[in-house]
Chain length 397, copies 2
């Protein structure tokens, strides 16, 4: 047993990043100041058609380094070549909830690979890896494929992690084309009968609330507010309405290609600020609530509500030590407010996952950032080449 000197520091549960595409850190800052459609069609999806397993591996290493330094002890990832991500998770010691993404445009193979990934890696890395089926979204996966996914989820006891009603446009287009919202699509295809993690949900409409209420206990939503502002989406995740129907909302960063960082600490502060502003109520979403979303509600959202998200006997030791001695965090009149509104991810001194120290006094113990950055830099010209005119998918909600 090792003793850590943590004078002037606070121990708190590690933050959980409920929805990201970790390897996309390779594209950080590549597609700036663009509407969603151009971001996907002109930059991200063309570039992703070049993606190799090695790119994913290096991106995942860089992402894990960033998250461990930012006090994130668990992340839910939804991406491609996820075997490489699982290997990085095993190697660096972080906890993760992983799903191999697929589109219907890949044919049955995509869904099959997602299932194989989920079954193969479930319980991996000494139990630190949990898995999900990961259809991309109702606008890129057909109803038939969603229904088949729901069947697989039931048959194998797997959760589903997908994007749905990401923004109001998607909800409106779904209504216009199919007469149902994306959330209603999830219900009628049986997806909501599984444990489901819905990313974003800023397009969740009033009529969706009763649907989600019926799936209470199985459904959660991940909110990554920074990207919604950056894309100028007209709404944010309706956290207050979801709370009223008992649906947990975890916090997230989405990928760094849109969010520019994997900083859940910032998501926590932004969630409080944007919720106050959106609801027109300064008393709503206090710092205490923001901490609850970033820890225990996030843990529930990734199906780990009984294992992580709080510091208590019987829970896994996913703990971060936060330095409060800096001038920007003094004096401390209200600890929750200090943590959410004054502290920054860079105030995390030490990060512990499953009892193992992954960062001590800001020093990463399991990852070599300069080596990753160098190797990633060498691969960049091939990764960024868009002269081929291909893209992995078309954004057309």
């Amino acid at each position: 047993m090792e003793r850590l000197d943590a004078r002037g520091q606070v121990a708190m549960p590690g933050l959980v990043n409920c929805h990201t595409h970790a390897p996309m850190v390779a594209l950080r800052g590549l597609a700036e100041d663009l509407p969603t459609e151009e971001w996907f069609n002109d930059v991200v999806w063309p570039v992703e058609s070049n993606l190799t397993e090695k790119d994913v591996e290096l991106g995942a290493r860089l992402a894990c380094a960033e998250m461990i330094r930012g006090g994130v002890t668990c992340f839910a990832d939804h991406y491609f070549a996820m075997d490489a991500v699982a290997a990085v998770v095993a190697e660096c010691g972080i906890r993760a909830h992983l799903g191999q993404a697929y589109f219907s445009s890949q044919g049955e193979q995509g869904r099959q690979q997602s299932l194989e990934f989920a079954l193969h890696h479930r319980g991996g890395a000494h139990g630190r890896i949990t898995t999900a089926l990961a259809p991309h979204a109702p606008y890129t996966v057909t109803d038939a494929d969603l229904a088949a996914t729901a069947d697989l989820a039931r048959a194998h006891g797997l959760p589903v992690h997908l994007h749905a009603s990401e923004n109001r446009d998607q909800a409106d287009t779904s209504l216009a084309r199919h007469g149902v919202t994306p959330i209603e699509v999830l219900e009628r295809t049986g997806v909501l009968d599984a444990d489901v993690l819905i990313a974003h949900g800023t397009g969740i409409l009033e009529r969706d609330l009763s649907v989600l209420a019926r799936a209470r206990g199985r459904t959660a939503v991940a909110s990554a507010p920074r990207g919604y502002l950056k894309f100028a989406w007209p709404t944010t995740t309706p956290i207050r309405a979801l709370r009223e129907i008992g649906v947990p909302v975890g916090l997230a960063t989405d990928g760094a290609a849109s969010n520019n960082s994997l900083d859940v600490w910032e998501s926590m502060a932004l969630t409080s600020l944007i919720q106050k502003s959106t609801e027109g109520d300064p008393r709503w979403l206090t710092s205490r609530q923001a901490l609850h979303h970033a820890t225990l509600q996030s843990a529930r959202a990734v199906g780990l509500g009984d294992r992580i998200g709080s510091i208590a006997p019987g829970r896994r030791a996913d703990i971060v030590l936060v330095d409060l001695t800096g001038p920007h965090t003094q004096p401390v009149h209200d600890l929750a407010a200090t943590l959410v509104h004054s502290a920054r991810s860079s105030d995390v001194r030490t990060t512990i996952v499953d009892g193992r120290i992954l960062m001590r006094d800001r020093e990463l113990l399991t990852l070599d950032v300069p080596a990753v950055v160098r190797e990633l830099g060498e691969r960049m010209p091939a990764l960024l080449d868009r002269s081929h005119g291909r893209r992995i998918q078309e954004y057309d909600t």
Copy 2:
């Protein structure tokens, strides 16, 4: 001459905090999740009735430490007992634009003290201190006092720094009570004939734009978006409209009692995000523009547009070195985006003001934070006592 090893770092102009109440760091986190009126009347103004010069001195030291660590090389302060702030500025080496605040409830004495402060300290600290007359706001200072202030500004060649149209409520109340907006009050009392720095301006209305356009070249606005979200104000500073009429908008944090930090880096990122969201336009307020607001436009806002705000021959050496080697700032595809959306204030390694190094490799060279925190802590019970039932002013827009 000293050489600094800054490999992996970017040199950029120091950020300018265009509007704060630096000593209010002592109240950081004391009045959380409250509407503006309760924040003022129930907590801040009662506590401020206990304020001593020593509290202000300690608060200013803590604030300067935080700002220097966050890459802020100049701040505009609007507070009480400003002699103490001026002394701290002289001692710690930062640059500042200082004004002694006053309400009409103080009688003529308040205005007189504001003038004496401005004349006495103008050009102080080897030219690092500039000064302003600092009436509090049109809702706490009468038209007659504003007119007298305008006369003093003209007679002594001093600028004016005040709050005006902070929020929509103030504008609406002014219209209902007096038939004019707060901005129109500034015009008719002659304040807009002086060089004026207007804090916040989230209540600036369409009809105010022609008024401000007539004051172009003399007027600037300071925007501190975090507090507007936290108070759930319905609008933010109309930066796009102000840009169209040629009024510079500097970035700010306001005091830490509302903003919870003096982190202009965060104001820069939030300004970009909130402007995109508010205008419904992801192409607006790019990272390059955000940097321009935080540096050169902020410098202009505090009357120092020809001395600081850019790195160029003839400018004062107010420079910060920003480390971009962290995993959260790699790779760099777009330097401006990396600085605004991925880097954090904690990535500032070295802060230089007027050619003097105030922080080197994160070590503060002119301030002793633990000593300040200790001494401030001892004074806290007396400072926070609200049993007397007094307050320095009433919030009633």
